[in-house]
């Protein structure tokens, strides 16, 4: 059974009185011991989905089930104990760590949450956690500013590990890091997923890294999940034109001088999404049906799915019986 399930999630913000649908009917399942990548351009709703998953924003519809229990949004004060096993790591470890407190005391917060450790035992455990993320136990006595970006991201991960999590949601954990630190943290994430049997949700706009370390991938466009599947298969043969465009835009570093393909246009304003398939104004395969109906996520077998009429098992010309407009 999946450790985390997101079912038909909607996240809606109000902007000057107008409802902005940041996430529309998104579903996702996370397994322990695996890394699931969530990719898409900025503004596609991936961070909103992540924030809803950990309870930082209240979903407008749909549900999030974590370890068999429905998740409730965060309240001021106490968070239900079992939900502490769902952790989040943010993009900028400089703003997510308290600059005035030692690393050790920040990790100890988490240890106290899971309860019942004496001070001395906490200290030992904090040291162990730091070693687990590839740092020295002595780092516990120091402050965040004494570390590089990559080290701070390790510390943020150690702090998340302190509560013995089952799932960690990572929002762009690698994007502020240099190449060598990026590779180190990427390797660390793979190791943690395998050794601690953690389910990791990796949100990233760096498709090359996701391709390398994620087992499964979901591709988001303008609030919708448009394709999902095993990472390797999705990359080898994208079934949604948007995924195809994303893959073609990644520059290769082989020195061949090949210019990556640009995707024309921009992610539209989620406050007024295009009719029908949200991708149709930018799609090079667009045909009559696309502007009029919103394609459902077609199940393509082998854990693959794509929301494109080209993948309609009944043929591309078929008119849909019902549109998915307004489906939650």
């Amino acid at each position: 059974m999946s450790v985390l399930e997101v079912r038909s999630l909607d996240v809606v913000y109000r902007r000057q009185g107008v409802a902005v649908h940041a996430v529309v009917g998104a579903s996702l399942a996370l397994e322990r011991g695996r890394i699931t990548g969530l990719v898409g351009e900025s503004g596609c709703g991936k961070s909103s989905l992540a924030r809803a998953v950990v309870g930082l924003v209240k979903p407008a519809a749909g549900e999030i089930v974590f370890a068999g229990t429905r998740l409730s949004p965060l309240r001021r004060g106490a968070r239900p104990r079992h939900e502490t096993r769902l952790q989040m790591v943010f993009q900028n470890p400089y703003s997510s760590l308290n600059p005035r407190r030692t690393i050790g005391s920040q990790i100890a917060d988490g240890l106290r949450l899971v309860g019942g450790r004496k001070r001395g035992a906490s200290r030992v455990r904090a040291g162990e956690l730091l070693e687990q993320v590839g740092m020295s136990a002595a780092a516990a006595g120091r402050f965040p500013h004494q570390f590089s970006g990559g080290q701070r991201q390790r510390i943020a991960i150690a702090r998340a590990l302190a509560v013995d999590p089952e799932v960690i949601v990572l929002d762009e954990p690698l994007s502020s890091l240099d190449a060598s630190a990026q590779a180190q943290i990427a390797n660390l994430l793979v190791g943690l997923a395998r050794e601690l049997d953690l389910g990791l949700l990796l949100i990233s706009h760096d498709l090359a890294i996701v391709r390398h370390i994620a087992d499964d991938v979901s591709v988001m466009y303008l609030g919708r999940i448009v394709e999902e599947g095993r990472t390797r298969e999705v990359w080898a043969a994208p079934q949604h034109p948007y995924t195809e465009a994303l893959v073609a835009a990644i520059p290769t570093s082989d020195g061949s001088g090949t210019l990556p393909e640009a995707l024309p246009g921009e992610v539209p304003d989620p406050a007024s999404p295009p009719s029908g398939c949200r991708f149709h104004p930018r799609c090079s395969y667009v045909f009559a049906r696309c502007p009029t109906a919103d394609p459902p996520l077609y199940d393509l077998g082998a854990d693959r799915a794509a929301a494109c009429f080209l993948r309609d098992p009944l043929g591309v010309a078929r008119q849909p019986k019902t549109t998915r407009e307004g489906v939650t």
């Binding site: 060598s180 630190a181 990359w235 465009a245 290769t252 640009a262 921009e266």
Partner: protein, 324 residues
């Protein structure tokens, strides 16, 4: 003759604990119509070395060496002569275009002011030229864009506007510092194609600073790899990226996820961290992280010497030398 020839450029900054050397004797040349890539991790001195060319360094920094542009040494220019070149013949775009665009002025006013100061054109002619510039960088509906403010554009469009601003003075050399780092890959591809077109059609030379070797591979003609304030390897992009000779260049490439790597393998991370300029290792600065280092690497700074056609290398060991 090269458009720009930099010789023995050195930048030092005075701090409470004495002088530290940020850029330590760098030589390179940029040709007309060439995209010259400067690669390296943060703290390697790549940005400082180009800010020095424009005399844009903070107080307390001292620069030595020469940077010959059009027969004149940029480092010795001052007053009007400097203003005539900087921001005109040599223009610059940064990672975050919001830092170079005025938030409360319309795009049209910012661009046309630039044109008027430079070309002495009338208000109307300057606005027309501003619209032309926006069209040149492929901003849809340039006439309307003239009346818009920077915040009304997406990151990619703002970077296009910033490039339009840089082009307003018809520069010969554009310095682009991580111009696509903050952008999505789909948008990045558009900016790279734009730079490539400007290079081909306008014979614009570009110094492209980026840590992203994929970006480098797409449009740079030549790449110099910086490490701890020095160039460790330099050469034509294709050769350098397909057959890196310096252990650091190779390590940077190995740390990247490769499409060819089937299945999940560990990325080859470089052990340790780039050194701080305050504590630069002796000899070859890369030696503490290098699997090939010898005693000589620990004591003597390797000189940057030609090793093959257009290729320069600073390594005592040269472990990836091609057999003759």
């Amino acid at each position: 003759m090269s458009l720009l020839a930099v010789e023995q450029l050195r930048v030092q900054i005075r701090t409470e604990n004495g002088e530290i050397t940020i850029v330590d004797g760098v030589d390179y040349a940029v040709e007309e119509g060439q995209v010259f890539g400067v690669a390296g991790e943060s703290g390697s001195g790549k940005t400082i070395s180009v800010l020095a060319l424009l005399q844009l360094l903070p107080r307390g920094a001292s620069t030595s060496g020469r940077a010959i542009y059009n027969g004149r040494d940029l480092l010795r220019l001052s007053g009007r002569a400097l203003r005539r070149i900087r921001g005109r013949e040599l223009a610059m775009v940064f990672q975050d275009p919001l830092t170079s665009l005025h938030p409360m002025m319309t795009i049209g006013r910012q661009l046309s002011e630039h044109v008027r100061v430079h070309e002495g054109a009338s208000k109307r002619a300057a606005l027309a030229r501003a619209a032309e510039l926006l069209a040149e960088v492929r901003i849809p509906d340039p006439e309307r864009a003239l009346h818009a403010f920077p915040h009304q554009f997406s990151g990619g469009m703002r970077q296009r506007v910033a490039i339009a601003g840089a082009l307003a003075t018809r520069p010969k050399l554009l310095i682009a510092d991580e111009p696509t780092t903050a952008l999505d890959v789909t948008v990045q591809a558009g900016i790279l194609r734009l730079l490539d077109r400007l290079r081909r059609e306008n014979r614009l030379s570009v110094i492209l600073i980026t840590h992203d070797l994929g970006v480098m591979s797409s449009i740079a003609d030549h790449v110099s790899v910086f490490y701890a304030g020095r160039i460790v390897e330099s050469g034509p992009t294709r050769d350098l990226l397909s057959a890196p000779r310096h252990p650091y260049t190779r390590a940077l490439l190995d740390a990247l996820p490769h499409p060819e790597a089937e299945g999940r393998t560990q990325l080859l991370a470089i052990p340790g961290m780039p050194p701080s300029p305050r504590r630069r290792p002796s000899g070859c600065a890369f030696h503490p992280r290098c699997a090939y280092a010898t005693d000589e690497s620990r004591t003597d700074v390797p000189p940057l010497v030609p090793v093959s056609d257009g290729r320069l290398l600073a390594c005592h060991v040269d472990p990836f030398a091609v057999a003759p």
